[in-house]
């Protein structure tokens, strides 16, 4: 029971909230094209010199490369493991199924910063060095709940009985998976890869504790940098990070639709 006038007001309000939601990113992108040597609003002049500069700073390049590697490996591993788990949870009934399901969803409930600290203290107590592998493992664990969820949605949405049909036609379980299941859950797998990639590429909380000067991911590098000073250089670096995330975002929207990932509709 909402009148047309109320509806228009609500629409205008929603648009305003949407604008505020993207405002900080908008500001970063605008500022990154400034010609001045310090951050000021509105930016003075237009130049791409800060992008040029950021690509020449070795510490940022190294961090960006490291972040890319970590995100690629973590998203592939998380998606592979998540697919196996989703298959087990959706296609089989066995004792302890509910318990395992909650266990794999637990990282959603635990703040990243606490998990990062726990992993740090755990590795240290066993005398294990913090390296890229540690960061990857941390990211795999926080991405796994999403991977399981995406693949589960895809599995549940599959046409009924096609796997049984393939089996009856003589396909072994592995062939059934490769020829029938995998092609049909591909959207969920792609969404999982992309989402895990973003999650890993953007993560600060977990990486913060695991990073060493030699293994500093890009977001951690930015955090450390702006802790001391901020200048247009870091806005250019940040803008690049945003663009990477938004390319991935576009991929998700095209494969699944964002609303569905969050259970709306």
């Amino acid at each position: 029971m909402i009148t047309a006038a109320m509806r228009r007001c609500l629409g205008a309000y929603a648009a305003l909230v949407c604008l505020l939601a993207v405002l900080p990113v908008l500001i970063i992108v605008i500022e990154s094209f400034t010609a001045s040597d310090y951050v000021v609003f509105p930016p003075s002049g237009f130049s791409v010199k800060w992008y040029v500069e950021s690509l020449q700073r070795e510490e940022f390049l190294d961090s960006a490369l490291l972040s890319l590697w970590v995100a690629v490996i973590a998203s592939v591993v998380a998606t592979a493991l998540g697919t196996l788990v989703a298959l087990a949870l959706v296609r089989f009934r066995f004792p302890g199924r509910r318990v395992l399901q909650s266990l794999f969803m637990a990282p959603l409930s635990v703040p990243g910063i606490i998990f990062g600290l726990a992993l740090l203290q755990f590795l240290a107590s066993w005398g294990v060095a913090r390296d890229m592998t540690a960061v990857i493992v941390g990211h795999v664990i926080i991405a796994l709940p999403f991977a399981i969820r995406f693949v589960t949605v895809a599995l549940i949405g599959m046409v009924a009985n096609v796997e049984l049909a393939a089996q009856s036609l003589g396909a072994s379980p592995w062939v059934v998976f490769r020829r029938v299941t995998l092609p049909l859950i591909r959207p969920g797998v792609v969404a999982s890869l992309v989402f895990a990639f973003i999650l890993s590429f953007d993560d600060v909380a977990v990486s913060l504790f695991l990073a060493t000067p030699g293994t500093m991911t890009l977001p951690v590098r930015i955090y450390v940098y702006i802790d001391q000073n901020y200048d247009p250089l870091i806005t250019a670096v940040s803008a690049i990070v945003v663009m990477v995330a938004f390319l991935a975002l576009g991929a998700i929207e095209r494969t699944l639709g964002i609303g569905r990932l969050f259970g709306l509709r």
Binding site: M1, I2, M6, R7, L10, G11, Y13, A14, V17, C18, L20, A21, P24, V25, L26, I27, I28, V39, F41, P42, L81, L84, V85, A88, F94, A106, P107, P111, G112, I113, I114, L117, A118, L120, Q121, F122, A124, I141, L144, I198, D202, V204, A205, L208, F209, P219, I222, Y223, I226, D227, Y230, S238, V242, A245, F246, L249, I258, G259, F262, L264
Partner: protein
């Protein structure tokens, strides 16, 4: 054993094996370590001392300064939950009447901060709220100079609300969607004005979504690190920033572990309440 492994009953367990091992070693074990460490002593010269003590918890829960940090954490999370509700509720309401196209746009835009690196987003707010930023320019233009909001609690709330609003919107929207569309119409047919329909029918029926959304926001806000660290500045302390300071700068791992355990408890209690609310609203729905 061999027969078991080749039989069909083994399949789910084989599928679950890699992830389970990973979780046992790198998720469950680290939290056990954290729990144990929180009961160890610490000396500035000696590092971790492996003797059992309640000292860390006594310090955190009884000392006036640390109590004030716990208080600040609760305060920040509560204010954030309230503000996200006030800002997000009308948006959720709009989603129920919007065209499908408008709806998917609003959802995409509202959710977009979640997919942008927290550090970038927070940095953006620092530029907006800080010296010579957008806000100061606007206020100066209307004759109120010197409004640098950076490094205040308000700045932290703004940063948190920005990223946490989608949780309230989605939670409330789900709740609103489940209302039988005939119910508000029935109220209107009985003579209720649109505003009264909203306050007497729609609002009470969306209460479960409101509650769930606020509890989610409370839990997430209480444990964020980057936003209070960057927007709150060095003097603004909540449990997460205190924990980072103790762990990384002061290297007092047992105390940091005690803070982590306390923070986990706060988050888990929030989640428990949220599950209870969800359970009760489902019960209510089944009664209807």
């Amino acid at each position: 054993m061999r027969r078991f492994l080749t039989s069909r009953h083994a399949t789910p367990w084989l599928l679950l094996l890699p992830a389970s091992v990973l979780f046992a070693v790198f998720f469950v074990a680290p939290f056990i370590t954290l729990g144990i460490n929180s009961f160890y002593d610490y000396g500035r010269m000696t590092g971790i001392i492996h003797v059992f003590t309640w000292k860390n918890y006594e310090k955190l829960w009884l000392d006036e300064y640390y109590l004030s940090v716990i208080g600040a954490t609760f305060r920040l999370s509560s204010i954030t939950a309230l503000v996200t509700l006030v800002i997000g509720y009308p948006v959720a309401l709009y989603l129920t009447v919007a065209s499908p196209r408008a709806k998917s746009w609003v959802i995409a835009l509202i959710l977009s901060p979640l997919l942008v690196s927290v550090i970038v987003r927070t940095f953006g707010w620092a530029i907006i709220l800080g010296k010579n930023g957008l806000i100061e320019r606007v206020f100066t233009a209307i004759g109120i100079p010197g409004t640098d909001f950076l490094h205040t609690e308000a700045a932290v709330v703004v940063g948190l609300v920005n990223v946490l609003t989608p949780f309230v919107v989605l939670s409330v929207a789900t709740s609103l969607q489940s209302i039988d569309p005939a119910v508000p119409l029935a109220a209107a047919s009985l003579g209720a004005s649109p505003l009264r329909v909203l306050s007497r029918v729609i609002l009470p029926l969306s209460l479960p979504g409101i509650l769930a959304g606020m509890l989610i926001v409370f839990g997430l806000a209480s444990a964020t690190f980057v936003t209070p660290a960057v927007l709150g500045g060095a003097k603004f302390k909540v449990l997460s920033t205190l924990m980072y300071q103790q762990a990384v700068i002061l290297q007092n791992w047992p105390f940091a572990a005690a803070i982590a355990v306390t923070l986990t408890l706060i988050v888990l209690i929030g989640q428990g309440l949220q599950n209870m609310a969800a359970e009760r609203s489902r019960y209510g729905a089944s009664l209807r």
